[in-house]
Symmetry: C2
Subunit: 185 residues, 2 copies
């Protein structure tokens, strides 16, 4: 069986990917080798730099993923630095920044970068709104404050399988699966 | 006269450096070649990566600088991503996050990375507090909301010469000047 590495230290992301890649005849392996991410406002630029870096070290096909939450009223904050900002001010900080703000539109973006006979980029977007309070304890990061379009629930209130249907990462991983099945990007 | 490049697109920083380096018999030149900065919570790691990158492109001695504001109550936010966060939520966002927060302690850190016969790192720190409102229009970035210790004024209310006496970057540049004069780090 063909092996494919997912370079991530995030168990939640690996769990999501494992479910999405089930239809493929591939052995998905989690590996947590560190790699540099550059500072850039464009996630694609960050992922391309990282996969080219990893390709010089890892000689098997692999992918990695970067994602961010982009809030309209906050000029795309927290954007590419979503993880650091989650670790410092957290969801309470986001809710405080949006106190008395009417426009709560936001989107999550996921970029999956695959290296297999060259670099390949797959993008997934999930639009929605920031809730007024913490909703649910599922998922990770900003999940409990993000309600995707056409859903009554936040990501934090969904199971992993439900979330994959709506989520940015689910959509990017779906494109990865299609590509690995058919070779069409 | 010996030439030294300061790689920056920030006119405010160049102005500060030009004043600090006056005692030296050196021609300071601003150059705005782009370079990658990695994502890391440690500014030294960011600067070391960048100066090694630039050294492969620029064959003359140069330095660059990275700085950040670290707010105690916000777990070091905005930290290494101070510029992006300034460009998105700005000083109003910081004040909103600190609304009704008593502990307003913060520090600015500056790392100057010189490449001259190898890499050299100089650190400067300025401790102080975040003000309750915008104070002054001088400087740039977070200057109007930061009041350094032993000063009645914010950085935004100071002239460049005054600010250099108190500032993190002034202190890091002072170490750079001492090194360039004496060769002692």
């Amino acid at each position: 069986m063909e092996k494919l590495y997912f370079i991530t230290g995030n168990k939640g992301k690996f769990k999501e990917a494992k479910i999405m890649l089930r239809p493929l005849n591939i052995k998905l392996i989690q590996t947590d080798i560190g790699y540099p991410e550059i500072q850039a406002s464009d996630l694609k630029e960050i992922v391309l730099f990282s996969i080219n870096f990893c390709n010089e070290r890892l000689k098997s096909p692999f992918f990695l993923e970067d994602s961010g939450l982009f809030i309209d009223e906050l000029n795309s904050f927290p954007g590419p630095y979503s993880r650091y900002i989650q670790d410092t001010i957290g969801n309470d900080g986001i809710l405080k920044l949006l106190l008395n703000v009417n426009n709560r539109s936001a989107y999550f973006k996921s970029i999956v970068g695959l290296y297999k006979n060259g670099p390949h980029i797959f993008e997934g977007i999930s639009r929605g709104i920031i809730s007024n309070e913490i909703l649910g304890h599922g998922g990770f990061g900003y999940d409990p404050i993000f309600i995707p379009e056409k859903s009554p629930k936040s990501f934090g209130e969904m199971t992993t399988i439900e979330k994959n249907k709506f989520s940015h990462r689910g959509r990017a991983l779906e494109k990865l699966v299609t590509y690995l099945e058919s070779g069409v990007e």
